[in-house]
Amino acid sequence: MNSPEIERLIQLLAKLPGLGPRSARRVALHLMKKRDGLLTPLAEALGAAAEAVRTCSVCGNLDTRDPCHVCTDPRRDQSTLCVVEEVGDLWALERTNSFKGLYHVLGGTLSALEGIGPDDLSIAALVNRARRPEVSEVILALNATVEGQTTAHYVTDRLTECDVTVSRLAHGVPVGGELDYLDEGTLTAALRARRPF
Protein backbone atom coordinates (compact mmCIF):
# COMPACT_ATOMS: atom_id res chain seq x y z
CA MET A 1 0.00 0.00 0.00
CA ASN A 2 1.44 3.38 -1.02
CA SER A 3 1.37 6.53 1.06
CA PRO A 4 -1.61 8.90 0.53
CA GLU A 5 0.61 11.39 -1.35
CA ILE A 6 1.69 8.79 -3.90
CA GLU A 7 -1.84 7.43 -4.25
CA ARG A 8 -3.14 10.96 -4.87
CA LEU A 9 -0.45 11.53 -7.52
CA ILE A 10 -1.47 8.28 -9.26
CA GLN A 11 -5.17 9.17 -9.08
CA LEU A 12 -4.56 12.59 -10.62
CA LEU A 13 -2.28 11.22 -13.36
CA ALA A 14 -4.96 8.63 -14.22
CA LYS A 15 -7.31 11.49 -15.09
CA LEU A 16 -5.04 12.64 -17.93
CA PRO A 17 -6.16 11.72 -21.45
CA GLY A 18 -4.68 8.42 -22.61
CA LEU A 19 -3.68 7.30 -19.12
CA GLY A 20 -5.46 4.63 -17.08
CA PRO A 21 -4.67 3.53 -13.52
CA ARG A 22 -1.92 1.13 -14.59
CA SER A 23 -0.10 3.57 -16.85
CA ALA A 24 -0.57 6.33 -14.25
CA ARG A 25 1.19 4.09 -11.74
CA ARG A 26 4.09 3.61 -14.18
CA VAL A 27 4.33 7.36 -14.85
CA ALA A 28 4.26 8.15 -11.13
CA LEU A 29 7.03 5.64 -10.48
CA HIS A 30 9.10 7.11 -13.32
CA LEU A 31 8.65 10.64 -11.97
CA MET A 32 9.63 9.62 -8.47
CA LYS A 33 12.75 7.84 -9.71
CA LYS A 34 13.79 11.02 -11.57
CA ARG A 35 12.95 13.28 -8.71
CA ASP A 36 15.47 16.07 -9.34
CA GLY A 37 15.58 15.86 -13.11
CA LEU A 38 11.85 15.55 -13.81
CA LEU A 39 9.46 15.53 -10.84
CA THR A 40 10.53 18.84 -9.28
CA PRO A 41 10.80 20.79 -12.57
CA LEU A 42 7.46 19.35 -13.67
CA ALA A 43 5.80 20.37 -10.40
CA GLU A 44 7.27 23.87 -10.79
CA ALA A 45 6.14 24.10 -14.42
CA LEU A 46 2.63 22.94 -13.50
CA GLY A 47 2.47 25.50 -10.68
CA ALA A 48 3.68 28.29 -12.95
CA ALA A 49 1.20 27.33 -15.69
CA ALA A 50 -1.69 27.12 -13.22
CA GLU A 51 -0.75 30.59 -11.99
CA ALA A 52 -0.21 32.27 -15.35
CA VAL A 53 -2.41 30.61 -17.98
CA ARG A 54 -5.80 32.15 -18.69
CA THR A 55 -8.46 31.94 -21.36
CA CYS A 56 -8.34 34.75 -23.92
CA SER A 57 -11.52 36.80 -23.53
CA VAL A 58 -11.54 37.60 -27.26
CA CYS A 59 -10.90 34.29 -29.04
CA GLY A 60 -10.94 31.60 -26.31
CA ASN A 61 -7.27 30.60 -26.79
CA LEU A 62 -5.15 29.60 -23.79
CA ASP A 63 -2.23 31.92 -23.12
CA THR A 64 -0.46 33.76 -20.32
CA ARG A 65 -1.88 37.03 -21.60
CA ASP A 66 -5.45 38.21 -22.05
CA PRO A 67 -6.00 39.05 -24.93
CA CYS A 68 -3.66 36.34 -26.18
CA HIS A 69 -0.54 36.84 -28.31
CA VAL A 70 -2.49 35.98 -31.50
CA CYS A 71 -5.21 38.57 -30.89
CA THR A 72 -2.71 41.31 -30.01
CA ASP A 73 -0.27 40.66 -32.88
CA PRO A 74 -0.56 43.73 -35.19
CA ARG A 75 0.96 41.78 -38.12
CA ARG A 76 -1.98 39.39 -38.29
CA ASP A 77 -4.76 39.83 -40.84
CA GLN A 78 -7.69 41.37 -38.94
CA SER A 79 -10.14 40.69 -41.79
CA THR A 80 -10.15 36.88 -41.51
CA LEU A 81 -11.53 34.84 -38.62
CA CYS A 82 -10.84 31.12 -38.44
CA VAL A 83 -13.39 29.21 -36.32
CA VAL A 84 -12.12 26.08 -34.56
CA GLU A 85 -13.67 23.60 -32.15
CA GLU A 86 -10.99 23.46 -29.46
CA VAL A 87 -7.72 25.17 -28.51
CA GLY A 88 -5.87 22.06 -29.75
CA ASP A 89 -7.20 22.76 -33.26
CA LEU A 90 -5.97 26.36 -33.05
CA TRP A 91 -2.51 25.16 -32.08
CA ALA A 92 -2.57 22.62 -34.94
CA LEU A 93 -3.33 25.36 -37.45
CA GLU A 94 -0.65 27.60 -35.94
CA ARG A 95 1.89 24.81 -36.43
CA THR A 96 1.20 24.91 -40.18
CA ASN A 97 2.39 28.53 -40.26
CA SER A 98 0.09 29.07 -43.23
CA PHE A 99 -2.73 31.05 -41.64
CA LYS A 100 -2.09 34.64 -40.62
CA GLY A 101 -5.56 35.74 -39.55
CA LEU A 102 -7.33 35.61 -36.19
CA TYR A 103 -9.06 32.67 -34.49
CA HIS A 104 -12.26 31.96 -32.62
CA VAL A 105 -12.55 28.88 -30.40
CA LEU A 106 -16.14 27.58 -30.14
CA GLY A 107 -15.43 25.30 -27.18
CA GLY A 108 -17.03 22.18 -28.70
CA THR A 109 -19.64 21.17 -31.26
CA LEU A 110 -23.39 20.74 -31.24
CA SER A 111 -24.15 17.20 -30.12
CA ALA A 112 -27.64 15.77 -29.98
CA LEU A 113 -26.52 12.68 -28.12
CA GLU A 114 -24.42 14.55 -25.55
CA GLY A 115 -26.98 17.32 -25.11
CA ILE A 116 -24.70 20.17 -26.21
CA GLY A 117 -26.77 23.00 -27.66
CA PRO A 118 -25.91 26.38 -29.25
CA ASP A 119 -25.99 28.17 -25.88
CA ASP A 120 -23.17 25.94 -24.62
CA LEU A 121 -20.84 27.18 -27.36
CA SER A 122 -19.23 30.56 -28.00
CA ILE A 123 -21.42 31.31 -31.03
CA ALA A 124 -22.94 34.63 -29.91
CA ALA A 125 -19.42 36.02 -29.31
CA LEU A 126 -18.40 34.86 -32.81
CA VAL A 127 -21.37 36.66 -34.39
CA ASN A 128 -20.43 39.83 -32.49
CA ARG A 129 -16.85 39.62 -33.77
CA ALA A 130 -18.00 38.91 -37.34
CA ARG A 131 -20.20 42.05 -37.24
CA ARG A 132 -17.13 44.28 -36.93
CA PRO A 133 -16.55 46.19 -40.18
CA GLU A 134 -12.93 45.05 -40.64
CA VAL A 135 -13.96 41.34 -40.76
CA SER A 136 -14.66 40.15 -44.31
CA GLU A 137 -14.23 36.35 -44.14
CA VAL A 138 -15.00 33.61 -41.63
CA ILE A 139 -13.29 30.25 -42.24
CA LEU A 140 -15.00 27.28 -40.59
CA ALA A 141 -12.16 24.91 -39.68
CA LEU A 142 -14.36 22.35 -37.95
CA ASN A 143 -13.92 18.58 -37.96
CA ALA A 144 -15.29 16.62 -40.94
CA THR A 145 -17.67 14.72 -38.67
CA VAL A 146 -21.46 14.78 -38.40
CA GLU A 147 -21.25 16.94 -35.30
CA GLY A 148 -18.57 19.24 -36.75
CA GLN A 149 -20.51 19.85 -39.96
CA THR A 150 -23.86 20.20 -38.15
CA THR A 151 -22.20 22.96 -36.13
CA ALA A 152 -20.71 24.48 -39.29
CA HIS A 153 -24.16 24.69 -40.93
CA TYR A 154 -25.64 26.20 -37.77
CA VAL A 155 -22.86 28.80 -37.52
CA THR A 156 -23.29 29.61 -41.24
CA ASP A 157 -26.99 30.29 -40.60
CA ARG A 158 -26.16 32.59 -37.70
CA LEU A 159 -23.59 34.48 -39.79
CA THR A 160 -26.09 35.34 -42.55
CA GLU A 161 -26.88 38.53 -40.63
CA CYS A 162 -23.20 39.60 -40.88
CA ASP A 163 -21.61 41.01 -44.03
CA VAL A 164 -18.94 38.29 -44.33
CA THR A 165 -17.95 35.50 -46.72
CA VAL A 166 -18.20 32.11 -45.03
CA SER A 167 -15.83 29.38 -46.24
CA ARG A 168 -14.80 25.99 -44.89
CA LEU A 169 -11.79 23.69 -45.08
CA ALA A 170 -11.70 21.22 -47.98
CA HIS A 171 -12.56 17.56 -47.38
CA GLY A 172 -10.73 14.83 -49.24
CA VAL A 173 -7.53 12.89 -49.83
CA PRO A 174 -4.84 13.69 -47.22
CA VAL A 175 -1.29 14.48 -48.35
CA GLY A 176 0.53 11.14 -48.61
CA GLY A 177 -2.77 9.24 -48.66
CA GLU A 178 -3.25 6.23 -50.93
CA LEU A 179 -6.71 5.79 -52.41
CA ASP A 180 -6.76 2.07 -51.72
CA TYR A 181 -6.50 2.71 -47.98
CA LEU A 182 -9.05 5.52 -47.74
CA ASP A 183 -12.54 4.92 -46.39
CA GLU A 184 -15.56 5.33 -48.68
CA GLY A 185 -16.68 8.50 -46.92
CA THR A 186 -13.42 10.35 -47.56
CA LEU A 187 -13.33 9.19 -51.17
CA THR A 188 -16.95 10.29 -51.71
CA ALA A 189 -16.15 13.72 -50.24
CA ALA A 190 -12.99 13.98 -52.38
CA LEU A 191 -14.88 13.13 -55.56
CA ARG A 192 -17.58 15.67 -54.80
CA ALA A 193 -15.04 18.40 -54.03
CA ARG A 194 -12.89 17.76 -57.15
CA ARG A 195 -11.70 20.80 -59.07
CA PRO A 196 -10.15 21.57 -62.49
CA PHE A 197 -6.49 20.53 -62.75
Binding site: A112, T145, V146, E147, T150, H171, E184, G185
Partner: protein
Amino acid sequence: MATLLTRERGRHAGLVQGARTARQRGVLETGNAVAARWRARLPEHLGTYALELDRSVAAGLLDDPLRLAALVSACALTEAALPEREPHPAAFEGLSALLENLDSPFWDAIYVRWELGLLQELGFGLDLSCCAATGRNDALAYVSPRTGRAVSLSAGEAYRDRLLPLPGFLVGDGEADPDSVLRGLELAGHFLERLALSAGDAGMPSARTRFVERYRKLTARSGKTLV
Protein backbone atom coordinates in the same frame (compact mmCIF):
# COMPACT_ATOMS: atom_id res chain seq x y z
CA MET B 1 -19.15 3.98 -25.63
CA ALA B 2 -21.23 3.45 -28.76
CA THR B 3 -24.96 2.82 -29.07
CA LEU B 4 -26.12 0.74 -32.04
CA LEU B 5 -29.58 -0.04 -33.31
CA THR B 6 -29.56 -3.73 -34.09
CA ARG B 7 -32.17 -5.87 -35.82
CA GLU B 8 -32.42 -8.56 -33.16
CA ARG B 9 -31.39 -6.86 -29.93
CA GLY B 10 -32.79 -3.37 -30.38
CA ARG B 11 -30.86 -0.35 -29.11
CA HIS B 12 -27.72 -1.77 -27.61
CA ALA B 13 -24.72 0.00 -26.07
CA GLY B 14 -21.18 -1.32 -25.77
CA LEU B 15 -17.63 -0.18 -25.26
CA VAL B 16 -15.46 0.41 -28.33
CA GLN B 17 -11.78 0.22 -27.58
CA GLY B 18 -9.67 2.71 -29.49
CA ALA B 19 -12.76 4.68 -30.50
CA ARG B 20 -10.76 7.90 -30.77
CA THR B 21 -8.07 6.51 -33.02
CA ALA B 22 -7.86 7.82 -36.58
CA ARG B 23 -8.82 4.36 -37.85
CA GLN B 24 -12.03 4.09 -35.82
CA ARG B 25 -13.19 7.71 -35.85
CA GLY B 26 -14.61 7.53 -39.36
CA VAL B 27 -16.49 4.35 -38.51
CA LEU B 28 -18.12 5.79 -35.40
CA GLU B 29 -20.10 8.51 -37.11
CA THR B 30 -23.79 9.07 -36.38
CA GLY B 31 -25.93 7.17 -38.90
CA ASN B 32 -23.22 4.86 -40.29
CA ALA B 33 -24.09 1.20 -40.92
CA VAL B 34 -21.62 -1.21 -39.30
CA ALA B 35 -21.08 -4.93 -38.91
CA ALA B 36 -20.73 -5.45 -35.16
CA ARG B 37 -19.55 -8.26 -32.93
CA TRP B 38 -20.43 -7.84 -29.24
CA ARG B 39 -18.60 -9.70 -26.51
CA ALA B 40 -19.17 -9.82 -22.76
CA ARG B 41 -18.72 -12.35 -20.01
CA LEU B 42 -22.39 -12.13 -18.97
CA PRO B 43 -25.35 -10.94 -21.07
CA GLU B 44 -26.16 -8.13 -18.62
CA HIS B 45 -22.64 -6.67 -18.90
CA LEU B 46 -21.88 -3.62 -21.02
CA GLY B 47 -19.48 -5.65 -23.16
CA THR B 48 -17.21 -4.53 -25.96
CA TYR B 49 -17.87 -4.05 -29.65
CA ALA B 50 -15.64 -4.91 -32.58
CA LEU B 51 -16.94 -2.80 -35.46
CA GLU B 52 -16.40 -2.78 -39.19
CA LEU B 53 -17.81 -0.12 -41.45
CA ASP B 54 -20.51 -1.41 -43.79
CA ARG B 55 -21.83 1.82 -45.29
CA SER B 56 -20.85 5.41 -44.61
CA VAL B 57 -24.13 7.30 -44.71
CA ALA B 58 -22.96 10.47 -43.05
CA ALA B 59 -20.07 11.21 -45.41
CA GLY B 60 -22.37 11.78 -48.37
CA LEU B 61 -24.51 14.24 -46.43
CA LEU B 62 -21.93 16.48 -44.76
CA ASP B 63 -22.42 19.26 -47.31
CA ASP B 64 -26.21 19.14 -47.24
CA PRO B 65 -27.43 20.95 -44.11
CA LEU B 66 -31.04 19.82 -44.32
CA ARG B 67 -30.42 16.13 -44.98
CA LEU B 68 -27.63 16.08 -42.38
CA ALA B 69 -30.04 17.63 -39.85
CA ALA B 70 -32.60 14.93 -40.76
CA LEU B 71 -30.01 12.20 -40.21
CA VAL B 72 -29.02 13.55 -36.79
CA SER B 73 -32.67 14.07 -35.85
CA ALA B 74 -33.60 10.48 -36.79
CA CYS B 75 -30.73 9.05 -34.74
CA ALA B 76 -31.50 11.30 -31.75
CA LEU B 77 -35.19 10.33 -31.86
CA THR B 78 -34.30 6.65 -32.06
CA GLU B 79 -31.97 7.05 -29.10
CA ALA B 80 -34.60 8.92 -27.08
CA ALA B 81 -37.66 6.82 -27.94
CA LEU B 82 -36.51 3.19 -28.04
CA PRO B 83 -35.84 1.30 -24.81
CA GLU B 84 -32.46 -0.39 -24.46
CA ARG B 85 -32.04 -4.06 -25.38
CA GLU B 86 -35.65 -4.53 -26.48
CA PRO B 87 -35.95 -5.96 -30.01
CA HIS B 88 -37.73 -3.67 -32.45
CA PRO B 89 -37.01 -5.20 -35.88
CA ALA B 90 -39.50 -2.88 -37.59
CA ALA B 91 -37.73 0.18 -36.12
CA PHE B 92 -34.42 -1.21 -37.41
CA GLU B 93 -35.81 -1.80 -40.91
CA GLY B 94 -37.49 1.60 -40.89
CA LEU B 95 -34.35 3.49 -39.91
CA SER B 96 -32.27 1.51 -42.44
CA ALA B 97 -34.75 2.40 -45.19
CA LEU B 98 -34.71 6.06 -44.18
CA LEU B 99 -30.90 6.26 -44.16
CA GLU B 100 -30.77 4.53 -47.54
CA ASN B 101 -33.19 7.05 -49.02
CA LEU B 102 -31.85 10.27 -47.53
CA ASP B 103 -30.23 11.11 -50.88
CA SER B 104 -33.44 10.54 -52.85
CA PRO B 105 -35.55 13.48 -54.10
CA PHE B 106 -38.45 12.43 -51.83
CA TRP B 107 -36.38 12.10 -48.68
CA ASP B 108 -38.45 14.61 -46.69
CA ALA B 109 -41.75 12.77 -47.24
CA ILE B 110 -39.98 9.51 -46.37
CA TYR B 111 -38.72 11.12 -43.16
CA VAL B 112 -42.28 12.04 -42.10
CA ARG B 113 -43.47 8.50 -42.84
CA TRP B 114 -40.53 7.16 -40.81
CA GLU B 115 -41.53 9.24 -37.77
CA LEU B 116 -45.12 7.97 -38.04
CA GLY B 117 -43.74 4.43 -38.40
CA LEU B 118 -41.64 4.92 -35.25
CA LEU B 119 -44.79 6.02 -33.40
CA GLN B 120 -46.58 2.90 -34.62
CA GLU B 121 -43.72 0.65 -33.54
CA LEU B 122 -43.90 2.18 -30.07
CA GLY B 123 -47.64 1.48 -29.88
CA PHE B 124 -48.85 4.99 -30.64
CA GLY B 125 -49.71 4.62 -34.33
CA LEU B 126 -52.14 7.07 -35.92
CA ASP B 127 -55.33 5.64 -37.41
CA LEU B 128 -55.62 7.29 -40.81
CA SER B 129 -57.82 4.59 -42.36
CA CYS B 130 -61.19 6.34 -41.99
CA CYS B 131 -62.95 9.27 -40.32
CA ALA B 132 -63.40 8.81 -36.56
CA ALA B 133 -66.78 10.57 -36.73
CA THR B 134 -68.39 9.21 -39.91
CA GLY B 135 -66.47 5.99 -40.59
CA ARG B 136 -65.95 7.03 -44.21
CA ASN B 137 -62.54 7.32 -45.77
CA ASP B 138 -63.02 10.16 -48.24
CA ALA B 139 -61.60 13.68 -47.86
CA LEU B 140 -59.70 13.01 -44.65
CA ALA B 141 -58.29 16.40 -43.64
CA TYR B 142 -57.64 16.45 -39.89
CA VAL B 143 -56.31 14.33 -37.05
CA SER B 144 -57.61 14.40 -33.50
CA PRO B 145 -54.72 15.57 -31.26
CA ARG B 146 -56.05 13.37 -28.46
CA THR B 147 -56.83 10.03 -30.13
CA GLY B 148 -54.64 10.21 -33.26
CA ARG B 149 -57.60 9.23 -35.48
CA ALA B 150 -58.34 10.91 -38.80
CA VAL B 151 -61.32 13.21 -39.24
CA SER B 152 -62.94 14.09 -42.57
CA LEU B 153 -63.16 17.63 -43.92
CA SER B 154 -66.92 17.91 -43.40
CA ALA B 155 -67.01 16.35 -39.93
CA GLY B 156 -64.01 18.33 -38.71
CA GLU B 157 -64.92 21.74 -40.13
CA ALA B 158 -66.64 22.92 -36.95
CA TYR B 159 -63.65 21.89 -34.79
CA ARG B 160 -60.84 22.82 -37.15
CA ASP B 161 -59.12 25.07 -34.59
CA ARG B 162 -58.76 22.15 -32.22
CA LEU B 163 -57.71 19.53 -34.81
CA LEU B 164 -54.32 18.96 -36.43
CA PRO B 165 -54.18 19.31 -40.22
CA LEU B 166 -53.55 16.02 -42.02
CA PRO B 167 -51.30 16.43 -45.09
CA GLY B 168 -52.82 14.73 -48.13
CA PHE B 169 -49.71 12.74 -49.09
CA LEU B 170 -50.06 10.62 -45.93
CA VAL B 171 -53.41 9.26 -47.19
CA GLY B 172 -52.44 9.00 -50.85
CA ASP B 173 -54.01 12.31 -51.80
CA GLY B 174 -51.66 14.76 -53.53
CA GLU B 175 -47.92 15.28 -53.65
CA ALA B 176 -45.56 15.85 -50.78
CA ASP B 177 -44.67 19.51 -51.31
CA PRO B 178 -42.63 21.30 -48.63
CA ASP B 179 -45.72 22.81 -46.99
CA SER B 180 -47.42 19.46 -46.57
CA VAL B 181 -44.17 17.87 -45.35
CA LEU B 182 -43.92 20.62 -42.74
CA ARG B 183 -47.51 19.87 -41.64
CA GLY B 184 -46.54 16.19 -41.48
CA LEU B 185 -43.55 17.03 -39.26
CA GLU B 186 -45.79 19.08 -36.96
CA LEU B 187 -48.33 16.24 -36.81
CA ALA B 188 -45.71 13.60 -35.98
CA GLY B 189 -43.97 16.00 -33.55
CA HIS B 190 -47.19 16.48 -31.58
CA PHE B 191 -47.61 12.76 -30.97
CA LEU B 192 -43.91 12.09 -30.45
CA GLU B 193 -43.77 14.70 -27.72
CA ARG B 194 -47.12 13.78 -26.15
CA LEU B 195 -46.83 10.01 -26.22
CA ALA B 196 -43.54 8.46 -27.25
CA LEU B 197 -41.14 10.79 -25.43
CA SER B 198 -43.30 11.75 -22.46
CA ALA B 199 -41.96 8.91 -20.29
CA GLY B 200 -38.32 10.02 -20.53
CA ASP B 201 -36.74 13.04 -18.83
CA ALA B 202 -35.26 14.68 -21.89
CA GLY B 203 -38.38 15.27 -24.02
CA MET B 204 -38.08 16.17 -27.70
CA PRO B 205 -34.41 15.99 -28.78
CA SER B 206 -32.97 19.40 -29.67
CA ALA B 207 -31.66 17.92 -32.93
CA ARG B 208 -35.25 17.26 -34.06
CA THR B 209 -36.32 20.78 -33.10
CA ARG B 210 -33.37 22.24 -35.04
CA PHE B 211 -34.19 20.07 -38.08
CA VAL B 212 -37.83 21.27 -38.18
CA GLU B 213 -36.70 24.88 -37.71
CA ARG B 214 -34.21 24.54 -40.57
CA TYR B 215 -36.83 22.89 -42.78
CA ARG B 216 -39.30 25.68 -41.99
CA LYS B 217 -36.72 28.37 -42.82
CA LEU B 218 -35.62 26.81 -46.09
CA THR B 219 -39.22 26.16 -47.08
CA ALA B 220 -40.05 29.80 -46.47
CA ARG B 221 -36.96 30.91 -48.42
CA SER B 222 -37.26 28.61 -51.45
CA GLY B 223 -41.06 28.62 -51.63
CA LYS B 224 -41.42 25.21 -53.22
CA THR B 225 -39.18 22.31 -54.04
CA LEU B 226 -36.27 21.19 -51.84
CA VAL B 227 -34.94 18.47 -54.12
